[in-house]
């Protein structure tokens, strides 16, 4: 009987352990599998959330859709795996997901010690301040002596203290753990200022202002006091796949820069501009160099849109969040989004 139970245990392990070692390269296994496994957050308004039909939408989701369009010519060949912030790095390291598009700030520690590769920055976030309009404050420099609502134990709290000290101002912190409670405290007037990443401030302002007040009664101040560059991450070891992810982002930016959008892309195929011809693969070569179809940018823009379209649709003026593009404007318009040229 003991032998039988040992055999049973071995059998059970063998049965439930599915999947086999991959063929060395992430890109090969993605192509062989026929879909991209994408680690997304478990729900951040505008960046990744499931709609009423259970379909994932958002800025982080569009990154995965664009990569899928580049590799497969079809933006729908993505399997989304929602990951909490504790799980996300392990999931990427262990091969559970191919790419992490998870509102992750690129930092040195994560890039090196965790064995990740951050590709191009998809969203420049940073800590900001939300205040009621009736305070009449126009700049964070006028916040001397203010009561500030902030979450404990985060870099947010440290940045706040640094900023006020550097500007020789004082503040009274109201430290609250849960984000719903912070919002409630702020809107009920327990504190004058709420500080967190500015995308979070816009989301709060757009969706959580209690009636009868409206979003227009609150303003996000122009000062950004920390750097939170959000970028998709892939595992070390497959440079070609990392290249595709990076150049997918650049392609979306280049498309916007040259006025190629999902509506105009078909007309643009007839354009005489040599740069546009190169980008859209009318002049072949670029896609081949990257290891994808020459029509890759056409597929991305046609199915997902350029960066500006994706931004406006998910978090910008076309969405409920109404986030100002700010740092995420193209470099030609005074922002930081600067793509390496496709040539």
């Amino acid at each position: 009987m003991h032998k039988a139970s040992v055999a049973a245990a071995v059998g059970a392990v063998a049965l439930f352990a599915s999947g086999s070692a991959w063929a060395g390269k992430d890109l090969d296994s993605i192509k062989a599998r026929g879909n991209l496994i994408c680690g997304v957050p478990t729900g951040i308004a505008g960046f990744a959330s499931a709609d009423s039909q259970g379909k994932w939408t958002g800025l982080d989701v569009d990154v995965c859709r664009a990569v899928s369009a580049a590799i497969f010519g079809d933006s729908e060949k993505v399997k989304y795996v929602p990951l909490t912030s504790q799980q996300r790095f392990t999931a990427l390291q262990s091969g559970e997901v191919d790419i992490l598009s998870n509102n992750t700030t690129a930092t040195l520690q994560r890039d090196t010690a965790l064995g990740l590769d951050f590709t191009a920055i998809t969203y420049y976030d940073g800590q900001g301040f939300l205040v009621p309009k009736k305070l009449g404050v126009k700049s964070a420099k006028e916040l001397n002596g203010a009561t500030v609502c902030v979450a404990p134990g985060t870099t947010t709290e440290l940045n706040l203290a640094d900023y006020f000290r550097a500007n020789k101002m004082t503040f009274k912190p109201v430290v609250i753990e849960k984000v719903e409670e912070i919002r409630a405290a702020f809107f009920s007037g327990r504190c004058d200022v709420y500080t967190t990443d500015s995308s979070g401030l816009y989301a709060t302002r757009a969706a959580n202002v209690p009636a009868p007040a409206t979003a227009d009664d609150y303003v996000v101040l122009p000062e950004i006091i920390s750097k939170e560059p959000l970028a998709p991450a892939v595992r070390h070891g497959d440079q070609q796949f990392a290249d595709i992810v990076r150049w997918t982002q650049y392609a979306m930016l280049e498309a916007e820069e040259y006025g190629i959008s999902s509506k105009t892309v078909d007309d643009m195929l007839k354009s005489d501009n040599p740069t546009i011809k190169r980008i859209l693969g009318v002049t072949p070569g670029m896609g081949k160099a990257l290891g994808v179809e020459d029509k890759w940018v056409y597929n991305i823009v046609k199915q997902v849109g350029n960066y500006g379209e994706s931004f406006e649709r998910n978090v910008g003026m076309g969405s409920v969040l109404k986030i100002d593009r700010g740092l995420n404007k193209l470099w030609t318009q005074g922002g930081l989004q600067y793509a390496e040229p496709i040539r």
């Binding site: 070692a21 795996v81 409920v320």
Partner: protein, 404 residues
């Protein structure tokens, strides 16, 4: 009138308390009715149109399918719906005492097969799994029927186990060709797309189904005279009870993949289910141990005196009595675990509570947590309340014999 005077207005003090409380209740109720019914918004194109009114039930109207079934392909939502109905039917049928015999086996086999066929859409049974099942069933039959079955029956069980072992061995050295038995009426839907009520129900039902026998074994092991078995069981129970369920889930989802060879992944849902089973089994073991200890020593001695083996003594004399005693605390444990399964949200599995949470994130509909949580609470209450009523019914039913 008399009752009123006696119980509510027996003195001035009591009278005032009654009036004040009644007024408070009326005030709260009128506020609630106003919010939830009179000024509520029942349909709206988006969350923005709900603002400034009472409850936004339009949100539930918009999101209920997502809350119940999560990311399961939208046009196929009838599958999780019927899976939930199959599970409910299975549970309700097995709640009936008249079914507590071999029929139970049939109910669960058919119910489970229906549920998983609907959820997965396709079931592929590899040859190894068939042999493995033959081995388990054969070995199980041979042991369980060892003292009661006829020699022919025992040999049949042994033969079945033998076929399993031989088949697995041949598969292992590669002599036996691999084949897969496919039942594939629908499109395949993997567990990462499952969500909502079916996930909660599968985790709770199958978690407890497997935890229950494991718990019985652990409870018996803990009272064993063999020191090794005893210490192993005590160690397991104390270890599991000494850590929170969340840490087990995190272990299963974050630590385990790091120890596996790269590229090998075990389904996340299965990992969570195993964690729930291990956790529940330790608690069930302790509940059952309570039942075992409540039996008078005479029962054990009488069984020994009749010359029953340990196995016969346990299955025929001890367990039937012990389990009857512990039914109320067992159901209490079950209710607890039904709710505890919502902890899987920390490892990114979308159970019922988590899909409800998700519905809050959609920027178009954000900002109505009260409505969503009330709705979720209502659904949980329906399940837990019916379990608690059933436990009450069972208690009176099983104590008929001892009541005078």
């Amino acid at each position: 009138m008399g009752w009123l005077r006696q119980n509510l207005f027996s003195s001035w003090g009591n009278g005032i308390t009654t009036v004040v409380l009644l007024l408070a209740i009326a005030w709260l109720l009128s506020w609630f009715v106003d919010w939830a019914v009179l000024t509520a918004v029942w349909t709206a194109p988006s969350g923005q149109d709900c603002r400034g009114h009472g409850a936004c039930w339009a949100l539930i109207h918009e999101k209920y399918r997502y809350i119940f079934f999560g990311s399961f392909p939208y046009e196929q939502h009838w599958r999780p719906l019927f899976a939930v109905l199959a599970m409910l039917a299975m549970l309700i049928l097995s709640a009936d005492r008249r079914m507590w015999n071999k029929r139970l086996l049939w109910i669960w086999s058919i119910g489970s097969a229906t549920t998983f066929l609907l959820m997965f859409g396709q079931i592929n049974i590899s040859s190894s799994l068939i042999f493995f099942l033959a081995l388990v069933i054969g070995a199980g039959g041979a042991v369980l029927r060892a003292t009661v079955g006829s020699p022919i029956e025992i040999n049949a069980w042994r033969a079945l186990a033998g076929i399993g072992v031989a088949g697995l061995a041949l598969r292992l050295v590669g002599l036996f060709p691999a084949f897969t038995l496919s039942i594939a009426p629908f499109s395949y839907v993997e567990t990462s797309l499952w969500g909502g009520l079916p996930v909660t129900m599968i985790l709770a039902t199958y978690g407890l189904l497997f935890a229950f026998p494991l718990g019985i074994l652990l409870a018996l092991g803990r009272r064993s005279n063999l020191p090794l078995i005893k210490s192993l069981c005590v160690g397991f129970i104390e270890l599991i009870r000494g850590v929170p369920l969340i840490s087990l889930l995190i272990m299963a989802s974050v630590m385990l993949p790091l120890f596996l060879p790269s590229g090998m992944t075990i389904d996340k849902f299965l990992r969570a289910l195993v964690a729930v089973i291990l956790f529940a089994s330790a608690y069930i073991a302790e509940v059952i141990r309570g039942g075992l200890q409540s039996l008078p020593k005479g029962q054990f001695e009488a069984a020994d005196a009749m010359g029953l083996t340990y196995f016969q003594k346990t299955t025929l004399v001890i367990l039937p009595q012990a389990l009857r005693v512990v039914i109320p605390p067992l159901i209490n444990t079950f209710i607890g675990f039904f709710k505890d399964t919502s902890l899987v949200l920390i490892i990114g599995i979308f159970d019922f509570l988590n899909t409800a949470n998700q519905a809050l994130v959609d920027p178009k509909w954000a900002g109505f947590p009260g409505e969503i949580y009330l709705f979720a609470a209502f659904v949980y209450f329906c399940f837990c309340f019916s379990m608690s009523r059933y436990s009450k019914y069972l208690e009176t039913e099983l104590n008929k014999g001892t009541r005078r």
